[in-house]
């Protein structure tokens, strides 16, 4: 029998070239792929939404979002992904399927999405201007403040979008996209951001 040596690589392994892209000068947009994360989909079983909410509160010490929002704990982000469901984004296995199985055993079904999505963090002074080309959602701070989230589409690809905590006084937008659509969306983002100058990188750190 053949021996396989699985090499875990990002779906953006080839497409992502760290460094400067597009217009010269100060980069208006920073695109950072966040690698190596745990992502668990938690979906209430029929009639068990209230029980799931109770279990989430007990597990995370904070209410899971019931409207399009993202909330943070010390080591996890809970992101609304549809009615009676949310995503748990974290690192290091502390909130992986094994850890969450027991707390949600009687109320929700879990599905490990860790290797099905690519996480892209978009920041910089022109981030909003660039995203306005790709999203039909109003991302103005009045309409989409820190903690706002949306299940939406960009360039025909289904994405989970949310605004994280500001960094250096600037908004940070996060996009989770299906792995097989990631390269396509990545190139679209590069095209959209090129005129503002892009700083491309990848990181293991959750912002």
């Amino acid at each position: 029998m053949a021996e396989f040596s699985w090499d875990v690589r990002s779906p953006l392994d080839r497409a992502l070239v760290s460094g400067a892209h597009g217009a010269h000068g100060d980069a208006g947009v920073s695109l950072t792929e966040i690698r190596d994360f745990d992502l668990i989909q938690v979906m209430a079983r029929r009639g068990k939404a209230a029980d799931m909410a109770t279990a989430a509160k007990a597990r995370f010490g904070i209410a899971a979002p019931e409207t399009p929002k993202a909330v943070r704990t010390a080591d996890a982000t809970l992101i609304w992904s549809g009615p009676d469901q949310f995503l748990v984004l974290s690192k290091g296995g502390g909130h992986g399927t094994e850890a969450l199985a027991q707390p949600f055993a009687s109320s929700a079904s879990l599905s490990d999405q860790s290797h099905t999505r690519v996480l892209i963090s978009i920041s910089g002074a022109r981030a909003l201007t660039m995203l306005a080309k790709l999203s039909s959602i109003d991302l103005h701070p009045d309409a989409f403040p820190v903690g706002a989230a949306a299940a939406t589409s960009m360039d025909h690809a289904s994405v989970t979008l949310w605004r994280g905590n500001d960094r250096d006084g600037l908004a940070v937008f996060n996009v989770l996209v299906f792995a097989t659509f990631a390269e396509s969306l990545w190139h679209t983002m590069l095209d959209s951001a090129a005129e503002y100058g892009v700083d491309i990188s990848h990181s293991e750190d959750m912002a």
């Binding site: 979906m43 209430a44 079983r45 029929r46 009639g47 068990k48 939404a49 209230a50 399009p68 992904s81 549809g82 009615p83 009676d84 039909s136 959602i137 949306a150 299940a151 939406t152 589409s153 025909h156 289904s158």
Partner: protein
């Protein structure tokens, strides 16, 4: 055209897929062939207000029941279809 998803808010048409008339109800087991034929094939061609099924596939992936005027495209109501969201049914 924009549709206000009860879960996501107002979104562009491109995020939604049209299924069709929300009126037909699946016949009970053992229904006559005529009843099944009606359910599968026959549709009213409504000029005016009708009830339609739409899928928010580019968003929250919930099924919606949309009340729309086919002459003006005016949407007067959007509600979750039966089964959309575990909390909405069979509690």
């Amino acid at each position: 055209m924009r549709i206000t998803c009860p879960f996501c808010g107002e979104r562009e048409l491109g995020e939604f897929t049209y299924l069709g008339d929300a009126k037909p109800v699946r016949p009970v087991a053992g229904a006559s062939e005529d009843e099944v034929f009606d359910y599968v094939y026959l549709r009213d061609n409504v000029a005016g207000v009708m009830s339609e099924n739409w899928y928010h596939g580019g968003g929250c992936r919930a099924w919606l029941k949309v009340t729309r005027n086919t002459l003006t495209h005016e949407i007067s109501a959007v509600e979750p279809a039966a089964g959309a969201g575990a909390a909405k049914v069979g509690a």
